[in-house]
């Protein structure tokens, strides 16, 4: 399927429904779809579940807390153990106004991978003997104990790449890859924000980071630089 090119991030996210689960690519400042996140904010859609590595680390996902658009967040980094200025998310969380499911980073990516790859779950040692084990099945196989982690999928994935071609092939730069390629495999509707849209063939086939079949919508945007100052 050939991706559809949208003129604005607002149009690209306009059909996201109330209550949707949204995978958001990126790692702090790298490969983060900030234009799509701000478009989602402007859409005013509420009761959303966001799945992302982080919220409130200089990222704009925290902006969705301003008008309480998030009901639930699944993340690896959301609450700081150290002091410092609280994010909007942290304030809402401590007030009991948003739910948080904290997931180890390696487990989050493998749950998403399972979700995108048609697998029923993941067995990992990560989290055994910790509070991450609570409520989960522990399997003993050949004398080894494993924690069973279930697959995770989104209704929508918002991802960021450097370039797309008109078919939807994506190319990443530097450490901008992170969660993006796996999230692109694990949602019903995949929307990619890119810095440039080029003709098919301009991205060398061996430089394609996410093949076109995963990508439904592409929109070219001037990147919004974000930075975590700690």
């Amino acid at each position: 399927m050939i991706a559809e090119v949208f003129d604005s991030p607002d149009d690209a996210v306009s059909e996201i429904a109330e209550g949707a689960t949204i995978l958001v690519g990126g790692f702090v400042s790298a490969g983060t779809p900030s234009n799509l996140i701000l478009a989602l904010k402007r859409s005013g859609q509420t009761d959303l579940t966001a799945v992302a590595n982080n919220i409130g680390l200089g990222d704009l996902l925290d902006e969705l807390c301003e008008d309480r658009q998030l009901a639930r967040v699944i993340a690896t980094f959301a609450i700081r153990a150290s002091g410092g200025r609280k994010s909007r998310f942290e304030s809402l969380y401590h007030a009991g106004e948003v739910e948080l499911e904290l997931v180890p980073q390696g487990t989050l990516i493998e749950r998403l991978r399972a979700g995108g790859a048609g697998l029923g779950g993941v067995l990992t040692r990560t989290g055994l003997g910790t509070m991450m084990q609570d409520g989960k099945q522990v399997l003993e196989l050949d004398g080894e104990r494993w924690l069973l982690e279930r697959p995770l999928r989104g209704d929508v994935a918002l991802i960021k790449a450097w370039r797309a071609d008109r078919l939807g092939n994506l190319q990443y730069r530097l450490a901008g890859r992170n969660f993006n390629p796996v999230m692109a495999s694990a949602a019903d509707l995949v929307i990619a924000e890119v810095e440039e849209i080029v003709e098919p063939g301009e991205i060398p086939a061996d430089q394609v980071g996410t093949p076109a079949l995963y990508v439904d919508r592409i929109v070219q945007c001037e990147p919004i630089p974000v930075r975590w100052e700690g």
Binding site: F77, A81, L102, P104, I109, M131, M132, A175, G176, N178
Partner: protein
């Protein structure tokens, strides 16, 4: 020793330097957020240590002083430079490296380490929170786990304890503890003092350690 003035211990930079000396030449190493990030500044290029950042870099050289590129950061969000031969990959690959036993050593910060080497380093009960990031995967997957931390809390309470009362990062995962006062090995028989910081006595270390500490092995002063 409540009320006693703390012994002169190592600065954060010197803890990082001592942790850097613990790394094998030619190894692949992941550095946690906070104090451990300083370790990258204390390795010699001739050691050919490759630093892995869990956000998808193998081969970063340390914190960058040049223009900020949002796509070129370490796992703490700090800008980094690359070494020749660096590579990028996605998060699934990154944690395959980590859980799959491909990382020779990780240096992580700590809140508590127990006598059997349990690590607590992500959740502060008094603050009602914390974030796990990649710490649990690193604690489980790194072949050698070095914890670099202050020996006691700001209030003077031991961070090295018989049994941790903080939520754990992983059980039985720590191999070496490096603090401002000492280098301590976690062995199958318990904790063993290996080195003392300059000017710090064995009695001072024992007095600030909340778990049984074997001091009978060969002891030396840290060379810094």
């Amino acid at each position: 020793m409540p009320g006693a003035s703390p012994p002169a211990g190592l600065s954060r930079e010197l803890i990082a330097l001592r942790a850097a000396r613990e790394l094998e030449p030619g190894s692949v190493v992941n550095l946690g957020i906070g104090l451990p990030t300083l370790v990258a500044g204390f390795v010699e290029p001739t050691d050919q240590i490759l630093f892995q950042a869990e956000n998808g870099i193998l081969g970063y050289a340390g914190i960058s002083e040049s223009d900020f590129d949002p796509d070129l950061i370490n796992a703490g969000g700090q800008p980094v430079d690359l070494v020749a031969g660096a590579s990028f990959f996605d998060t699934a690959d990154s944690f395959a490296m980590i859980r799959g036993g491909h990382i020779e050593a990780a240096v992580l910060g700590g809140l508590q380490v127990s006598a059997q080497g349990d690590l607590a380093n992500w959740y502060v009960p008094a603050r009602g929170g914390g974030s796990v990031g990649g710490a649990m995967d690193l604690a489980v997957g790194a072949r050698k786990l070095i914890v670099a931390m202050a020996h006691v809390t700001r209030e003077g309470a031991p961070r090295i304890v018989e049994v941790s009362d903080y939520p754990l990062t992983a059980e039985r995962c720590v191999d070496v503890i490096i603090t401002d006062l000492a280098v301590i090995d976690v062995t199958k028989f318990g904790l063993a003092l290996r080195e003392t910081a300059p000017g710090v006595s064995v009695a001072e270390i024992v007095g600030r350690t909340g778990a049984k500490l074997d001091t009978s092995g060969p002891l030396s002063e840290m060379s810094l």
